[in-house]
């Protein structure tokens, strides 16, 4: 295809803008990487020397060997995956109803669910804390997981509704004639056929939960129950510059799993986000 000069200039402008955006997100990470491979002495040089003279992987080794770090990572895995699984499991029936049943006020329900997503966690922080306190669920992974699930449900309902919408309605009809109940149809026909959508919704929740900070921060005060996000924040607030390089290494290591999941599975995630965008 022959492209005009104007089109090429426009492309160039788009790439320049994207580069700028990428830089805004990447620079802090690069700075983190720079700190993470320094020796303690070089940390004090600050921004004066971006690439250290004597880079070292020692910081990573020390963090990885640290029992506390391992506990935090394990807590993160546990909370994120249980939260993601719970959100998908609870959102699926709701999404099925929204996809398959005709009832009054369906549009309002869909918008209502979405509007929950628009409320910042900070707004409900204090009532949420008191609520969980009354229920006696503070300081427990169980209570924390429940909140992860609650936080994930709205967007998951939408994603799964779109996934279920792509499973043809006539299959429900065929299943009804084959004698399946609504629930059996859901479990034996719709769910297996929407598996790619379920998996991407799970992964998306997993990634969102991995970086979840607010909920575990208010719910958990005992050191050994923290996920990595809270742990890093607490250490950053309490330690001197003498351990900055270790903190940087821990931060990078904490990002890695979510990043890896995203890179490996981005096609699925994109497919889930784009499904239903255009009529097939």
């Amino acid at each position: 295809m022959v492209r005009s000069r104007a089109e090429r200039l426009a492309d160039l402008a788009v790439y320049a803008a994207m580069l700028l955006l990428a830089a805004a997100f990447l620079l802090p990470v690069l700075w983190l990487a720079s700190l993470a491979v320094r020796t303690q002495a070089e940390v004090f040089l600050g921004a004066a020397r971006f690439i250290p003279e004597a880079p070292t992987l020692d910081n990573f080794a020390r963090v990885l060997r640290d029992g506390g770090f391992q506990t935090y990572i394990w807590n993160t895995i546990k909370l994120s995956s249980l939260g993601a699984a719970g959100a998908v499991a609870l959102a699926a029936p709701a999404a099925y109803a929204l996809s398959r049943m005709r009832f009054r006020g369906k549009g309002a329900v869909m918008l209502g669910i979405l509007s929950v997503q628009m409320v910042s966690g900070l707004v409900v922080l204090i009532p949420l804390y008191r609520f969980m306190d009354r229920l006696g669920l503070l300081e427990s992974h169980f209570g924390t997981t429940l909140l992860y699930i609650a936080a994930g449900i709205p967007v998951t309902v939408w994603l799964l509704k779109i996934a279920f919408d792509t499973v043809p309605q006539t299959l429900d009809d065929a299943a009804a004639i084959d004698g399946l109940s609504r629930f059996e149809t859901f479990a034996m026909i719709t769910l297996p056929l929407a598996l790619p959508g379920l998996v991407s919704a799970f992964i998306l929740n997993l990634i969102l939960n991995w970086s979840q900070f607010l909920i575990p921060f208010i719910m958990l005060t005992a050191d050994e129950t923290w996920p990595i996000s809270v742990a890093i924040f607490r250490f950053a607030g309490s330690t001197s510059a003498a351990t900055t390089q270790l903190l940087a290494a821990a931060c990078l290591l904490a990002i890695l799993p979510a990043l890896a999941i995203f890179i490996v599975l981005q096609r699925w995630i994109l497919a889930a986000l784009m499904a239903g965008a255009v009529k097939q």
Binding site: D173, A176, L193
Partner: protein, 368 residues
């Protein structure tokens, strides 16, 4: 095996009435084809029989037992869908055997039943494949296999052939008929294709605007249509409708007056002076020099090989005629036409009803 009765089925979606007092009686083992233009309510009717849709009023009876309160699964009906509706995540064998899940059979028995059906439909080599790996015709066969394995009381077909190409459609038509001979089961078959209706049905139900226009054998609906709608809908090319007025012994047609043959007179008795429509099939319009004084201009000639269709323009109407393949006509020629009035149907121009009601009645009992 069952007899199916529909009694005054009415269905409204909001203010729109899609079915209006539809009654139909299908005796055991009969193959009934419901045909009509899209939007006439035929698919909704089928879905109501299946239980996928609830009627607003009226009752569906299977062997004289009302089934409206039963779920589709409890009605013991099987349905073949237009888009096949096979379960894509299951193998062909699992798709066919799916309806047997509830049946109290041993696993080996079920496998034997699936094999038997697969043999009948000649799809044995496909049993381990998934629907995605099958052609349209193969999928259609699997869909039929899923329907017959349960030995249902009633077979329901919802435009099953409309996704197939012309050759395959013709082949599947005769295969479905052969299947019905092999496994004689009460069948309700919905289509918009009048050729399917004519070639497959024991009886045809012609629907229009949510009502039944006529119930009859293919020959009846073709040669004795009850209404102008049925006359126009059944038959390709469409029937010729010639406006006329009956006066004494003669029919006044546009630009000519014809004597009425003695055999036709009783059918017109009592309609003198009324505006009529003479329905004449293309094969009952003879192109011949002189003709009956009706002259038209040849507009288009369509040779099909076995016969040639001639479309004609007359100042008052457009006509079509079926002629021998070796016609010497060419567009622009003026030709004379002879009308075989003995074979015509006469309709009241106002009501659109045939002056002589066809033998079959609307409640749909078989005529001896």
């Amino acid at each position: 095996m069952a007899k199916l009765d529909l009694s005054a089925i009415t269905k409204s979606f909001g203010a729109t009435r899609v079915l209006d007092q539809v009654s139909l009686s299908v005796p055991d083992r009969e193959f009934v084809v419901v045909v009509g233009p899209s939007g006439c309510g035929k698919s909704t009717l089928l879905r109501i029989v299946a239980g996928l849709e609830a009627a607003s009023a009226g009752e569906v009876l299977l062997d004289d037992r009302p089934v409206s309160q039963l779920s589709p699964g409890q009605r013991n009906v099987a349905m073949v869908f237009q888009n096949y509706a096979l379960y894509p995540h299951l193998t062909v064998a699992a798709n066919i055997g799916f309806g047997l899940r509830r049946a109290r059979m041993r696993r080996a028995e079920k496998r034997e039943a699936v094999a038997r059906v697969a043999r009948l439909l000649e799809i044995e080599p496909l049993l381990n494949r998934r629907p995605g790996a099958l052609s349209g015709g193969q999928r259609q066969r699997v869909a039929m296999g899923r329907a017959i394995i349960r030995n249902p009381a009633v077979f329901l077909f919802d435009e099953p052939l409309s996704n197939l190409d012309a050759r395959l459609r013709m082949q599947m038509r005769s295969e479905i008929r052969a299947l019905h001979r092999a496994v004689p089961t009460t069948t309700l078959y919905v289509t918009h294709d009048q050729i399917e209706a004519m070639t497959m049905a024991d009886r045809v139900v012609v629907m229009n605007g949510g009502r039944i226009e006529q119930i009859g054998t293919p020959t009846e609906v073709y040669s004795a249509p009850r209404t102008t709608f049925v006359a126009g809908f059944i038959g390709m090319p469409s029937i010729n409708m010639i406006p006329a007025r009956y006066r004494g012994d003669a029919l006044e047609l546009p630009s000519t007056t014809l004597p009425v043959p003695a055999a036709v007179k009783p059918r017109l008795a009592g309609h003198a002076g009324r505006d009529l429509l003479v329905g004449l099939r293309p094969e009952h319009l003879d192109i011949r020099p002189g003709g009956d004084g009706l002259v038209a201009e040849v507009d288009q000639i369509e040779p099909t090989g076995s016969e040639t269709l001639v479309y004609l323009d007359h100042p008052a109407m457009r006509l079509s005629a079926r002629t021998a393949p070796d016609t010497a006509l060419s567009p622009g020629m003026q030709v004379g036409l002879r009308l075989l009035l003995e074979r015509a149907s006469f309709f009241d121009a106002e009501t659109g009803l045939n002056l002589v009601p066809p033998p079959s009645n609307l409640t749909g009992e078989l005529t001896a």
